[in-house]
């Protein structure tokens, strides 16, 4: 299945995943800065940010990534929401990269959930 034949909804969903991850990284870093330079959240934020970079990289160049950030600022909750959204994305050739992204998000959920 090529990029062109993938349902448009899948790209919209992946864009929403990217937005959630970006916001989660911003929230993690904001909390890290409040806690100080030794906060473990600096590295969690880095992991979330790299996951968001991967999600953006999978999207077509004209994908719409603008929009209001979510009101939620609980990092673990945001990550779980992102994982739930990925469930609606097909695992097909044209979405190569979705499996590693899913694994990365699940790893981050585990890292962020006490």
């Amino acid at each position: 299945m090529s990029n062109q034949t993938i349902d448009r909804d899948a790209w919209v969903t992946l864009a929403a995943v990217a937005r959630l991850l970006r916001h989660a990284a911003v929230c993690a870093w904001a909390q890290a800065e409040a806690e100080g330079p030794r906060s473990h959240l600096h590295l969690l934020g880095l992991g979330i940010h790299t996951a968001s970079c991967k999600a953006v990289a999978m999207l077509p160049a004209d994908a719409d990534l603008e929009g209001q950030p979510p009101a939620q600022d609980d990092v673990a909750h945001l990550l779980r929401s992102a994982e739930e959204l990925t469930r609606g994305i097909p695992v097909v050739d044209g979405m190569a990269g979705i499996s590693p992204l899913v694994v990365a998000i699940c790893d981050l959920v585990r890292e962020s959930t006490p």
Binding site: P37, H42, L43, K54
Partner: protein, 485 residues
């Protein structure tokens, strides 16, 4: 098995996929023995389900499709034989979650076997469905192998800590666990190649035995340094500069935590840590974070980051976590010391702190000289006005200048960065270079070569390359006055 289960093949496959994800999100080291006992059953069920899917008419699909599953089955059987030979994990309960995955895959195979006689793979839509089913099966194995591997790694770490200094009989779980980790990594790589379409790279499917501990940290730090320079030389975009700065901040954070553990466990001089290293590391961490915030303002949600630097940052983060983390937060000093030689880790971090000065200089050069720097109009207007207001507060009166046109602000177009924004960036990166140099000089005490050298023969740290580094490094002389955020 539920006789009333009326779900379709697609729904059953999704159930198996989501179950493995749930396992991955919740897995711990304590789960490892049960998961290892059950994993073979998951693979066997997937193999049987794969075999029930009608082959493409005329052999249209790549022969590697079948070969991949055959190799995964062979790897799983081989792993099982090793487990039997080693007597580990031995008899015991199965992992109920993985058992559910295996049962779901078996149920799917039954469903196809009973009702799939009418499937005509010559139809393009049916072929697409079959391809999607194969991909979902392989994806489930990929996620599942990763979760069993995570459990095995956590388990080995627990066993290592609890059996340190004990007999080889008591610590034999470590090599057995490492063998399982290695095999699972190979399995994950092969399944990942299928879903990621990267056959060429992973077709070998050998056991993966990457570096571990301080060796992995060293390689990750070197790899990061090389990749950061490459990416920033080729594409010094705000998105790449943001990731570079955040990663360097992460290195400074990790260095602070690992060196603190070293000081607490006798691997690093406590006085040097408290009075020289800790304040300068914290200051450079804050400077990197501040600069990262500046670059972040210049990005948009659609900004793209070079995937090579993303990969390097990921590997670095994983290498640090392997040493410094315990589940969701930092491990205790004794735990870290039980995992690796913290003196050796300190040496690698000392080299990384030297390299950081050069990365800081590169970033300062981009801030000062790159004429292509742009940012979204609203953020640039806001930042320019804030910086000008801040200068006025400090007694510098400025003219009323419109730095970004109202039209650009309204449409939030991408604009060249206004002069006050550049000036702020240059200020921030100047501070960054200074604090990074201070941390480098403070960290010279970690160099075992320097420590072992006779008194009086101490060398200056290697001078970093960069725009303003023709003169002496700014630090060395006075550590106490530089620890500023």
């Amino acid at each position: 098995m539920n006789r009333q289960d009326a779900r379709s093949v697609g729904e059953l496959l999704l159930d198996a996929d989501f179950s493995t994800r749930q396992v991955l999100m919740d897995v711990t080291g304590e789960d490892a023995p049960a998961m290892l006992r059950t994993w073979g059953e998951v693979v066997q069920s997937a193999v049987e389900l794969w075999a029930t899917l009608p082959p493409p008419v005329g052999g249209g699909a790549s022969p590697i499709d079948g070969a991949t599953m055959a190799r995964l089955e062979s790897m799983s059987r081989s792993m099982h034989r090793t487990q039997v030979r080693q007597g580990w994990p031995g008899d015991g309960p199965a992992d109920e979650r993985l058992l559910h995955v295996a049962e779901t895959l078996t149920r799917t195979a039954d469903l196809i076997g009973r009702r799939g006689g009418h499937i005509r793979p010559s139809d393009p839509e049916v072929r697409a469905d079959l391809d999607a089913a194969r991909m979902r099966i392989m994806h489930t194995l990929y996620v599942g192998a990763h979760s069993v591997g995570v459990a095995a790694r956590e388990h080995v770490r627990d066993v290592e800590l609890s059996t340190r200094g004990k007999s080889s009989r008591e610590s034999r779980g470590v090599p057995r666990g490492q063998d399982a980790i290695s095999r699972l990594a190979a399995f994950e790589q092969l399944a990942g190649a299928y879903v990621g379409n990267r056959f060429a790279r992973a077709a070998q499917g050998e056991h993966v035995r990457g570096p571990y501990g301080t060796e992995r940290l060293q390689q990750a730090l070197i790899g990061w340094d090389i990749q950061a320079h490459r990416t920033l030389a080729a594409t010094p975009t705000a998105a790449n500069l943001l990731l570079a700065s955040r990663t360097q901040a992460g290195i400074a954070t990790a260095a602070g935590v690992i060196l603190h553990a070293g000081a607490r466990t006798g691997h690093v001089d406590t006085h040097a840590y408290q009075h020289r290293l800790a304040p300068t590391l914290d200051a450079t961490q804050q400077a990197w974070t501040h600069v990262a915030g500046r670059w972040a303002e210049m990005t948009t949600p659609a900004s793209r980051t070079d995937l090579d630097i993303v990969q390097s940052a990921n590997e670095l983060r994983a290498a640090v976590r392997e040493i410094s983390h315990d589940k969701t937060t930092w491990a205790g000093p004794e735990v870290m010391a039980g995992r690796v030689d913290l003196g050796e880790a300190a040496q690698h971090l000392q080299q990384a702190l030297s390299s950081a000065v050069d990365v800081a200089c590169v970033i300062r050069d981009v801030a000062a000289e790159d004429k292509n720097l742009t940012g979204p109009a609203r953020a640039m207007s806001h930042r320019a006005n804030a910086d000008v207001d801040s200068a006025v507060d400090r007694g510098h009166r400025g003219e009323d200048v419109v730095w970004v046109t109202p039209g650009d602000v309204y449409a939030n177009r991408t604009v060249a960065i206004p002069e006050p924004v550049r000036a702020g960036l240059v200020d921030a990166t100047d501070t960054l270079v200074q604090t990074a140099s201070n941390a480098m000089s403070a960290a010279a005490c970690l160099d075992r070569v320097t420590q072992d050298r006779p008194p009086g023969s101490e060398q200056e740290p290697t001078a970093p390359r960069g725009r303003r580094h023709e003169g002496p490094t700014p630090m060395a002389q006075d550590v106490s006055r530089v620890a500023r955020p």
